[in-house]
């Protein structure tokens, strides 16, 4: 029964979702709404579970004191401050939570991402080499798009932006379509395998 019941639930839920997508009328539209509500409730509980797990992991790190354990203190204090600020004063504009978001979280988060610019520049100098014909093609395309898509390209040669746009609109799009079609076929086949009970890896241990 431990195997059959989950398989039946998966089959019914999967088929109901497929049918409601193509027939968005009663009773299938009601089923969709019901499933949506259930999903949203489960998602919130999953988030709570994730938070609990995060806190447990970092509390354990504090007890065991492996290398870099002090980062866990930062995480726990940061979590506690934001949690208390949000719960006590709310998250509206002008509240402590909002202040911390704009003046602590935002600059730190932006700074981490901005560092990428330096590493991209360094990596492009050290690793982007025309070693093979394919790599050369990629390199030339990258240069044309990089320069063609900033105003500087227009000053170098007024056809450069057009060339950049052409690369984006044709070779890029053809590649993207191929990837998307491949992914879609993969998703369909995997979903069908799960719904029909062929793929049972989610039943691990049963």
């Amino acid at each position: 029964m431990k195997k059959q019941i989950p398989l039946i639930i998966t089959f019914i839920a999967g088929m109901a979702m497929i049918i409601q997508y193509f027939i968005p009328h009663r009773p299938f539209s009601d089923i969709q709404q019901l499933f949506n509500t259930w999903f949203l409730i489960i998602t919130v509980f999953a988030m709570i579970l994730g938070l609990g797990n995060l806190l447990k992991l970092h509390t354990r790190r504090l007890q065991r004191r492996p290398s870099g354990w002090w980062y866990s203190i930062v995480l726990l204090i940061g979590f506690a401050i934001m949690f208390i600020a949000g719960m006590v004063w709310g998250i509206e504009r002008g509240t402590p939570f909002d202040y911390l978001f704009w003046n602590v979280h935002l600059p730190m988060s932006s700074m981490m991402f901005a560092l990428l610019a330096f590493f991209v520049a360094s990596a492009s100098y050290r690793a982007f080499r025309a070693r093979t014909p394919e790599a050369t093609l990629l390199l030339v395309s990258a240069i044309l798009v990089m320069i063609g898509r900033v105003p500087l390209g227009n000053y170098i040669w007024d056809k450069l932006p057009l060339l950049g746009d052409w690369i984006m609109s044709y070779p890029n799009m053809a590649g993207q379509r191929a990837i998307m079609i491949g992914i879609a076929l993969g998703v369909i086949s995997t979903s069908l395998r799960i719904i029909l009970g062929i793929e049972r890896t989610y039943l691990v241990g049963k």
């Binding site: 949506n36 999903f39 504009r93 988060s109 330096f118 982007f128 080499r129 900033v150 993207q176």
Partner: protein, 274 residues
């Protein structure tokens, strides 16, 4: 070690300093490069222009502070454009950190155009669940978001009067830096309900949306800071994206120069070895 080998193995701190200068100098001393508007951004702008005053635009913010330099200027320009055209905005988000950013954009634009919260715009906040939230919103917005981002009942807001589901939304704009984002809005709102969907994304993810754009499933696309600068040019309101274009141009130029030089040294080195 000869000169070519030395140049090939240049200290990366020199590269870091050059990039720093390439970004800082144009920000302090603007060059004022002219910004040329691309077709995807023009379509985005025209889609907004086609809407009648009083139409409702749903802006979904799916980005966070790390991608703020690229997406936030789009959010600001979009809010300004909507209020300038007397359109109503319903804000929401599938990423929690996008909510205060969207709120700040709308508040700033509202102040400039004399618009009022609850009457001309509202922020419904964040709901966990990604694509399922879109599906739930498509059927019933007030049930999915009974309260706004600050916990006030949505029933008390004038802008929400008569807004039940996608039938009452004229345009959906997703400003996203990943998943869930524009792709999911296209899948549900456009694919299933035939709603008009426009998008603003980071430069690195823009290429992935060209198939949707060319298929007509996406009504315009703003890609990265360059796209945001183009949009600012179209609405005639210069913002942070336009100001950042000089720095981005020089930084791109420098990186391309690095790539070219590194390959020249690489080829010379290879020939010498041969």
């Amino acid at each position: 070690m000869n000169i070519i080998e030395r140049l090939e193995k240049i200290d990366r701190r020199i590269i870091f300093i050059l990039i720093l200068l390439a970004v800082i100098i144009p920000l302090l001393l603007p060059i004022g490069f002219k910004i040329k508007v691309s077709e995807p951004v023009r379509i985005f702008y025209e889609t907004i222009e086609e809407l009648q005053p009083g139409s409702i635009v749903l802006i979904s913010s799916e980005y966070d502070p790390s991608t703020m330099p690229e997406v936030y200027p789009m959010n600001q320009a979009l809010a300004r454009h909507c209020f300038a055209k007397n359109l109503k905005i319903i804000g929401m988000g599938l990423w929690p950190q996008g909510i205060p950013l969207n709120q700040a954009s709308m508040e700033q634009a509202a102040e400039e155009y004399g618009k009022e919260y609850g009457v001309d715009y509202v922020n419904l906040g964040y709901k966990a669940g990604g694509i399922v939230v879109i599906s739930a919103v498509s059927e019933n917005i007030p049930t999915t978001f009974p309260q706004d981002y600050a916990g006030r009942s949505v029933e008390e807001f004038e802008v929400m009067e008569g807004v039940k589901n996608f039938d009452n939304i004229d345009l959906i704009v997703s400003l996203s830096a990943g998943d869930p984002g524009v792709r999911q809005w296209i899948m549900i709102a456009q694919g299933r309900y035939g709603k008009k969907v426009s998008g603003g994304v980071t430069a690195v993810s823009a290429p992935a949306f060209y198939p949707y754009l060319h298929a007509g499933q996406l009504r315009g696309l703003i890609g990265g800071m360059k796209g945001a600068a183009e949009y600012e040019t179209l609405i005639k309101k210069s913002g942070t994206a336009s100001r950042g274009m000089d720095a981005q141009s020089i930084a791109h130029g420098l990186i391309v120069l690095f790539i070219v030089l590194a390959n020249v040294f690489f080829i010379i080195g290879k020939r010498k070895k041969a």
